[in-house]
Symmetry: C2
Amino acid sequence: MPAVEPQRPVRIGVCGLGTVGSGTINVLARNGNEVAARCGRSVVIEQVGARRDNPDCDTSELDVTRDIFDVANNPNVDILVELIGGTTVARELVLVAIENGKHVVTANKALIAEHGNELFELAAQKGVTIAYEAAVAGGIPIIKSLREGLVGNRIEWLAGIINGTGNYILTEMREKGRSFDEALVQAQALGYAEADPTFDVEGIDAAHKLVIMASLAFTIPLAFDKVYTEGISRICPEDIRYADELGYRIKHLGIARRTEQGVELRVHPTLIPQRRLIANVNGVMNAVLVNGDAVGPTLYYGAGAGAEATASAVIADIVDVARTLDAKPDQRVPAAGVALAEQGDTLVLPEEEVVTSYYLRISAHDKPGVMSKVATICSDQGISIEALIQHEPVDGEELVPVVILTSRAREACLREAVAQIEALDTIEGKVVRIRVESLG
Amino acid sequence: MPAVEPQRPVRIGVCGLGTVGSGTINVLARNGNEVAARCGRSVVIEQVGARRDNPDCDTSELDVTRDIFDVANNPNVDILVELIGGTTVARELVLVAIENGKHVVTANKALIAEHGNELFELAAQKGVTIAYEAAVAGGIPIIKSLREGLVGNRIEWLAGIINGTGNYILTEMREKGRSFDEALVQAQALGYAEADPTFDVEGIDAAHKLVIMASLAFTIPLAFDKVYTEGISRICPEDIRYADELGYRIKHLGIARRTEQGVELRVHPTLIPQRRLIANVNGVMNAVLVNGDAVGPTLYYGAGAGAEATASAVIADIVDVARTLDAKPDQRVPAAGVALAEQGDTLVLPEEEVVTSYYLRISAHDKPGVMSKVATICSDQGISIEALIQHEPVDGEELVPVVILTSRAREACLREAVAQIEALDTIEGKVVRIRVESLG
């Protein structure tokens, strides 16, 4: 056997000592020997940059600076690990690190989704890489699976529960019959939701993650501003109950799909058949279902957040970069899955062109002929009614809740039908509409 | 941006034109452009070695030899793709290829499980790699997840449904109330089971896959001969029904777990709580649940067999090897996850020392005092009874089926208790025993 040259340690600089930063330092301390064996060299924390210490993490033996840019400019640092969050300073920090010839590992989904194209370009110029496994679905190795594990496939679509806060809220609503507001308060009390929950419950966080996965799945540039986003704050307990009766669960999904006319990129509440594995992913857990033309459906499940789950992904990236530290750039997996010149165009299908089935809930006066009018309106738009259930009126109400499952229809047609239904004088208020996906 | 040198194509030699061989050639033909973009160079099939053609696959434009050793000796071949199956000839073929400085990609679980240690050793000496993603769970990127995606973790245990035939049979038994024999005939009619189903239903195939995953998870040498293996042919429909009543599903699992005393390696039918995601993996689908100390539980689900699903994994390996074709050996992920010198000892916990809960089914004469004697026997062995259900006698039978769920107990104690119970004159026949795992 040829003598193996001992490899010099890889020196990392960790910026940010929040949840993920402290988790990363703790896991590296605990599993350092195994990690070193895995990557063939030891991993040394050369410097930590953080505005303040974190009591969850012992940095007494480490070189800590209060100026994170010290880390980006430290000539001894091989890999800058960006865990500060946000996009403005993080972008500056990463740009400086790349300019200085450092590789970057980041858990920052917003940074990659919004500035990834620019960062990947500069990294390619400088011959370094940016790794971001931790940016999507916490510890689940979904980036690696999309970028490496499934490369034999033409990926047709993917659908993910990629926001644990939203999934926790929907799970509580279903299991305990709680309202959205009650479940949100509970999520906040448990630390699963922020005081301002907009980012999570309105789907912005999920859109960040979706666009990153779509970029890798379809080898297209990141297009965060083109994602259609709809939150879960208007989901009612009765919709969850009616969906249950029909054999469905309501999940907040990020969906990306290839079509002949373009790529669909959308985040919205979705009815999915309860027999699907992903319909049974509950609480704060995440899961991504990926459908490739060769492999068929595959699913990846795990914790989407948390100090150590995210640290698991950060460390996997560190090991990947460390192993190829002395390799030529083209011997590494490209940050975007392919060389940037090989990326296709991001032609995103306009939302009006998207075709799905729909769940509609209508509040109707209990008079003859109402359903016949609704059916005619749908039919005129080329929409068939696959199921229609008239429920008992809610206590003391005169209005009858009517739930309809439609055939697959273009969004534009559905909107027109909904507008006409809402204009009927036997219908009260707005039509509740939630997309339905079979994911089969 | 520095000028990117165009990279020469990677030339592969495909040995074997069965299901996986033809699937691989077909998928490469269909997705060749995407695959080339992913690995930064085109993939050229330099030669095919197969005793006969396969009508599912067009090889008219390819150089086909009837002697697979031509491929292993072809100086133009960079990667030998071994898809012939079996262990004797496959081992010879792979040894010749490695001696000739070729990388190897294989879908052959028996070859890796039984001869992997020898092959990895020779490959390390020759500075080439052996990739075997397709050997476990078909198209699911579980090898990559264990070897790369989860490297930040100390993996505590893993449990997998890794034989689609067995899972199909158990699913049919549960969903349609069929006997094992009926479900097996059905599986054979559909081509899911071989004429001689031993390999699948007795757990040998699962043991091959388990030992490969355990080697990567715990960085230990492959130890196929140390796996405890128990098949599913003795599972009765009533056990599936009683398990259901108790909130469990019966699955044929491969389980590997670290303990202080050694590693558990076992394949056996297992009761698992039906709320676990893996309990709901049905039909021929596979899934592996992996528990890491940092990431917690993660699950990987997909098709475990089939021409194109397996081809998906074969091609992912080809791309990995192709990308690092000109890299130094230590810049590649080691075949065994770590350098062989870094592997620990494979200290396997003897079966008698394994601790799990148990499902016991006893056929008892309906006389006073029977259950009290059973409880005393269990108690004397340190085993508590967590649940006990006395069922109605089966039509026309005098015997009463009694189902017991025990506390966690050492296998040796359980064996002793079972022997004593079977010796009671109020008990008929053998005690049915199936292990229970919470997987939580």
